[in-house]
């Protein structure tokens, strides 16, 4: 086989492959439904490659990421192609898998698309308002759209509680937040301790402002609904007043075994002035954030006691009295843990609902 013939064969193979890649197994007649929903290929490339900086609306985030709206009147077609191919300033070159056809489609999309249209399939018409909201119109409406996409599953469509996420309109953090100054940290970093597992969300500063504005607007709505007695959704302090103080006190000192660890004049003195309502009841049933004490004895005989800062099946980390963090492989040391909070978990199967309501009535007297 000559060199040329090999090359030719290679070309044929490549040709066949590209034909196979481009050809659709679907006949034109069967594509009616599909065509109606088929996105502009340029819009697709834009959404995949460009929208993260220049935004789905092409409005950009100036000054870092310039707006591309009306780019066709600023640059010639050749200049646009040049920028797409070679990048510009901080803009990276397109990824290698971007084909010439992709670049051509993208160029066409950038020049031809009207300012209001965003990079998405026409079938997803409702998406336009979201993208526009995300890129241009800021505030409550944009925050609502973002909230629906990323937050509503856990915190509910109306921010008043959903699957596993708390009612944000009653959150202390939200109520003390001003324009996202506290919400931002939770959104960006999530909550990653053993009891609260909120993932972080890659929101921009603007998006955090928007979503905070939405949450605060829901707080206002909730407060307005509360003007009518019993009109507010969620758990009010007044909802939790069905218990009997005397029965609760008896349970505390008797069957409940609470008094074996706690005292109304000691650790629980004034507890009802520090928390109320649902927060008090939840803390009563299982005190979140309670510290446990761990003691490690090494094979060399060193004994270290501290607050348990980390523990899994393999490693324990203690914070000693002077604030130093030290860790050990558990198979290399003897470890003893003093975790009184575990008693609370053991007690759950013992409670009736009446026990809880009575206990709550009693605990609320500890002011």
């Amino acid at each position: 086989m000559s060199y040329e013939r090999v090359l030719m064969l290679l070309a044929v193979v490549a040709g066949l492959v590209s034909v196979e890649g481009a050809g659709s197994p679907v006949k034109a007649g069967e594509m009616v439904q599909a065509t109606a929903a088929a996105p502009d290929p340029g819009a697709q490339v834009y959404a995949a490659r460009c929208s993260m900086c220049h935004q789905p609306t092409r409005a950009g985030l100036p000054p870092t990421f310039p707006s591309l709206i009306g780019i066709g009147s600023k640059y010639t077609e050749a200049q646009i192609a040049e920028i797409i191919h070679n990048g510009k300033g901080k803009m990276p070159k397109p990824l290698p898998e971007l084909s010439n056809a992709d670049v051509a489609a993208l160029k066409h999309f950038l020049i031809a698309a009207p300012a209001a249209s965003a990079a998405m399939p026409p079938a997803a018409a409702t998406a336009v308002s979201v993208a526009v909201a995300g890129g241009q119109a800021h505030g409550v409406q944009a925050g609502d759209a973002l909230f629906r996409q990323s937050c509503a599953f856990c915190h509910g469509r109306d921010a008043m509680g959903g699957e596993s996420g708390p009612d944000l309109t009653r959150s202390k953090l939200v109520l003390s937040d001003v324009a996202g100054n506290k919400i931002a940290d939770v959104v960006k970093n999530g909550r990653q301790n053993s009891e609260k597992k909120m993932p972080p969300f890659p929101f921009s500063d603007q998006e955090i402002l928007d979503v905070s504005a939405y949450i605060h607007s829901q707080v206002e709505k909730a407060n307005a609904s509360a003007k009518k007695p019993g009109g507010r959704k969620g758990v009010d302090v007044s909802d939790l007043q069905t218990g009997n103080v005397e029965a609760g006190k008896a349970y505390f000192n008797g069957a409940g075994t609470c008094s074996t660890c706690h005292s109304p004049t000691g650790d629980l003195a004034g507890v009802a002035t520090r928390r109320e309502g649902l927060q008090l009841e939840m803390q009563m049933l299982y005190p979140r954030g309670a510290k446990s004490k761990g003691t490690v004895t090494t094979r060399a005989g060193e004994k270290v006691t501290g607050v348990v800062a980390y523990k899994d099946e393999f490693v324990v980390g203690l914070k000693t009295a002077d604030g130093t963090y030290r860790s050990w492989n558990l198979d290399k040391v003897t470890y003893v843990e003093d975790a009184p909070v575990k008693k609370h978990a053991e007690l759950f199967p013992n409670y009736t609902d009446k026990d809880i309501h009575d206990l709550m009535a009693y605990i609320q007297t500890l002011k």
Partner: protein, 517 residues
Amino acid sequence: MKLRNVALAFFLMTGIFCAGAQGPDMAGLLHPKADSWPTYHGDYSGRRHSPLTQITPANVGKMGLAWAFQTGLNTQIKSSPLLADGVLYFTVPDNIWAVDARSGHMIWRYTYPPNPGLHIGQRGVGIYKGTLYFVTPDCHVVALDAKNGTVKWNVLVADVSKGYWMSMAPLVVGGHVIVGASGDFDNLTGMMKSLDPVTGAVQWEWNSTPPPGTPGQATGGATWMTGTYDPQLNLIYWGTGNPTPVLNGKVRPGDNLYTCSIVALNPDTGKLVWAFQPSPHDTHDWDAAEVPVLVDADFHGTPRKMLMQSSRNGYFFVLDRTNGKSLLTVPFGPVNWTKGIDAKGQPIPNPEKEPAPDGRLIAPDEGGMTNYRSPSFDPKTGLFVVDAHPSFSLYFAKPADGAYGWAGADYGLWGMGVIEAIDYQTGKIRWSHEVGQGGSGAGVLTTDSGVLFTGDGAGNVIALETATGKTLWHAGTGAGMQTSPMTYELDGRQYVLEGSGSVMFAWALPESMAAGN
């Protein structure tokens, strides 16, 4: 380039193209080879069990990282990768990656445009004859060329503006691409659709509940997880979600069929053949969407075609899957919401434990005794291994909460992650292995060599001995595993894949130890 090199390149190219990109046909889906994982569950049975034996209890301690793939996004991977022709396909909402299963390098990436659906999770794609099937948060089903991610068709199957969204991995059964939708925050009818794999045309639709507004009837019964399939009986098995309004059961008296149910449908017609309801009249959001695991084995001495489910409501069910009759119903952790089990083997909900204005203490919590991450059935030991979550919570509902969507409030108090090995004949827990307070969120994979893979609550991927639950190996991944692990063998090397955080990890024995080297 020398002629020899050109010729070599040519043969390599043709080799790649000959071997590649046809994807599995029905035979490939029915009988997956060691170098493929062609459905969400690995095969139609949903056992998430692999016949591979290279990694054993004796050598798993030597396992290390083969490669890791960084999605570069701040989004948790919840999908189970598919493997076909040496290429892995996995997803997060709006994104598919095609990744080389040997090296972890990206072949292509598909990004779906921004859209308003709920972006809570994406479980993966389906594949059939070289085409991938992908659902989007705004309820489109997109068919793509597995070779390059080019869109073949895109059809709308539900209305996102009404409150539907989609997250599941389609189940392909011959000429049917079967999809289901999610949606809890509105009073919606649960629905499944079967699409033509070539055109996307709808073949049938099955509704779990009557249309919204039907007097006294529940809506809901979302179909948000991938079901299983018995080719002999020609039945697909699917778990349906909770009724709506979710926590307020007063406006929807009765059992609320077919919510919180396991249904058997004919995949050719979508007709219901039988149903079993793990949670009649649910008021705690306990979808029965967990994997309906299909096992053929003896039950108390009689060979049976069984279906097993560790349900979110805290009960482990064994059914005869030919007719849906109960063989065993037993809790696999603390439950306090029933008055007992009825003659059909279904729990009887205690009205006193419905959400109330002053709160009810409920076990398990709303996330449930387990959730969507897969359990695994190990045929050798007869153990059904599940990531369990003993837990307690408070449930509230009052008139102001209304009768639409969530309609109440619930708050988790405490929960613990425990990997439990259940003896399917008795429901007895043979061993349990704590994986940390708060729970783990990892699925379970068992293998024929007697090693199982899962994760703990601190972000460790762990290998346990299937027979005893003893820890054999672990590695910290820096984030909790939200996926169900899968495994495959390529070129004589067995890989175990799991996603933790936004990174896909491939674990394997050192190349020097892998068979054939």
